[in-house]
Symmetry: C2
Subunit: 172 residues, 2 copies
Amino acid sequence: MCNESVIGYIETRRSIRRFTDEQVTRETIEALIDAARWAPSGLNNQPWRFITVESREVLDKLASFTKYSRILKSATAAIAVFIDTSRIYHREKDIQSIGAAIENILLAAHSYGLGACWLGEILNRHEEVENALEAPLDLELMAVIALGYPLDDEPPVAKNRYPLDEVIVKHL
Amino acid sequence: MCNESVIGYIETRRSIRRFTDEQVTRETIEALIDAARWAPSGLNNQPWRFITVESREVLDKLASFTKYSRILKSATAAIAVFIDTSRIYHREKDIQSIGAAIENILLAAHSYGLGACWLGEILNRHEEVENALEAPLDLELMAVIALGYPLDDEPPVAKNRYPLDEVIVKHL
């Protein structure tokens, strides 16, 4: 069993912001959402909903709603992640579950050799995104994930994280 | 490369609520938190903090704060997950990142043959948990994850999820 690779993929996952021209296929995007939906949620309420984007025109439109526009202009696909407000059990617990579903997307993307970048600053203009995507009224934008095949023209930036003993407050 | 196993672990992960007497070691718990900290966060602010619990007395104390007490009474370890409110960049985006970190814990646990259960209902009594653990004042409880080695005495319940075409609203 490939035990090591789960930890390996968790540790080697990086935010990728520059992509090649290669189109991410519908089948691949659906495989990522397939992974997302296996995340846990309170009372198994599964509050996540998705709009997938492959249209260059729509990607460029979304790019205009964030200061990180270059990432979406470079991406060849995106997944807009929503919370279905009609299914909320406990808002903040459900938002955590949305994050778990997003992490599944990011890890699945990485395992397929895709690059991905989780965009959150775009939430500042979430209504414009929701309107541009004609999202149903119950859906509230939680994130946009830019996708594509990584442009490997620069050495990967080393990831930095606080060491374990800074994030573990105490052992009881 | 073990590409398949990431998706495999994502799909086969289940909430485990009954555990054997086998103690989860400190080393194993730290390996789970090591996985958690590689999650992405806005501006890489890493708002997660953890208190690890191996003490039977403290586990039973935490059990008294949730209606799902049997899970913690059975567990041989737990991780209390907090958000550091002094490091918040954007509360709901940070809460999503906490969820991503939790998913890393759950996937890492599964890959190590551990069972885990993400407890959210305990948030209803978060102040009592924070007091019992003597958490620093800036830390706000986000979840408690019960841990142990799965008691395999009953066939696993099939996981059910809404099909893909229910969670994908549209393709653009």
